[in-house]
Symmetry: C2
Subunit: 236 residues, 2 copies
């Protein structure tokens, strides 16, 4: 029996992450200062600092000399990869953006999707489908499959201020996701939705998140014109 020693700074990181993930510390809220954490966990300031420092580098926190440490916003966290937030980009082009909810139902999953959602083939999954428009031109069809275990949690939400799709889109901040990008020819139904000919190539992005397992997103972008942009960062 080997006792795995857990580093103190790692315990503090876990603590802070749990607070953020559970929503107890919302975006922009102030995080305990280095001195407060020092007292609370009976560690030296450098140890407390290390926890805050690393979480800042991971994009969960934002620090400002003189003012304090704060929970980062979603936007600043998802600097690398984002299928969905196309609204900003469209507005930057000076165009109007709006979305239309198409489906919100229960469907039987096929074999591949079953594996991705930790289900058995034929099981029911929650399905949400939204069409995104740029100036009344449909540009992206987004489909989302959700493990029904998460739907219970979903139904407990108060939807007066948030749409169902928005809730399902709001993965936890601690998102580790894998994306698969593929060029496809869409089927008839999708072509009609996106108002394109059947020979037009489309970009399909499949996204699996790990922190909130059981959610798979599928985005189909019309092309050409719609590009999936990625930036990697390496500066200091």
């Amino acid at each position: 029996m080997t006792q795995v020693k857990i580093a103190k700074y790692s315990v503090i990181k876990q603590y802070i992450c749990q607070k953020i993930e559970s929503g107890q510390w919302p975006e922009h809220s102030k995080v305990p200062s280095e001195n407060e954490l020092t007292e609370q966990f009976s560690v030296s300031r450098m140890t407390a600092r290390r926890a805050l420092q690393e979480l800042t580098e991971q994009g969960l926190l934002v620090r400002s000399q003189g003012s304090g440490t704060f929970v980062a916003t979603f936007k600043s966290q998802s600097s690398l990869l984002e299928i969905r937030n196309i609204a900003d980009e469209i507005h930057e082009r000076g165009h109007e953006y709006h979305a239309q909810q198409l489906d919100l139902k229960s469907v039987e999953v096929n074999e591949e999707m079953a594996i991705l959602l930790s289900l058995k083939a034929g099981d029911k999954a929650f399905f949400s489908s939204v069409l995104h428009f740029e100036n009344d031109t449909p540009i992206q069809l987004e489909q989302r499959f959700v493990n029904p275990k998460l739907v219970a949690e979903y139904l407990q939400q108060d939807f007066t201020e948030i749409t169902p799709h928005e809730y399902l889109s709001s993965e936890a901040p601690l998102t580790e996701a894998t994306h698969e990008v593929e060029a496809i020819l869409a089927n008839v139904d999708i072509c009609n939705l996106l108002n394109i000919t059947e020979s037009a190539p489309c970009l399909q992005v499949k996204r699996r998140t790990w922190s909130r397992q059981g959610v798979v997103s599928l985005a189909i972008l019309t092309s050409p014109g719609n590009k999936y942009r990625l930036g990697s960062h390496l500066v200091f």
Copy 2:
């Protein structure tokens, strides 16, 4: 006149980066230990450590308790984004990989490419084109445009152990790159090269690197079957 104070750990980072970028410290080579940097720069161990630590988090170095710190390999650096290194993936599928150099010539650039390469439209650029095969099936056409200013440097290389295309592929480790992914229908020439029908959709990835500006890569992948995979990482 304000004097900008430069942190000591930052100076050490710059020093190490310069050594790696210039090739003086190749992949896998050992980097000075914390104690050596402590003496060399007359700083405390914690300051030297911070430089190594941050460069490790940025993926330039790899550290191993007990053995030392080493320059990371390309592979471990490009954990996020890589157009080109499909060979490994093909081998993992148990298939054979090989590549064929098609072109290696000078071409006039169009307006768009001129901007990307900091040239004027009609200027000459260096052009390299390589076809990648999986079990004798062409799966990816890769085209590379290079600013002629870099070609001088290119010609000074010793090509006994490295092919021209490999050299042009070996961007500096400090790569900040932007990728644009798009679904397209390839033109006749490319369809012939990739041995696909003209109605088959293709995935086009355009990559611009910033650390070695003046290189633009264009990869065209046949589809379906070829996916462009991305992973984001957030673990501790």
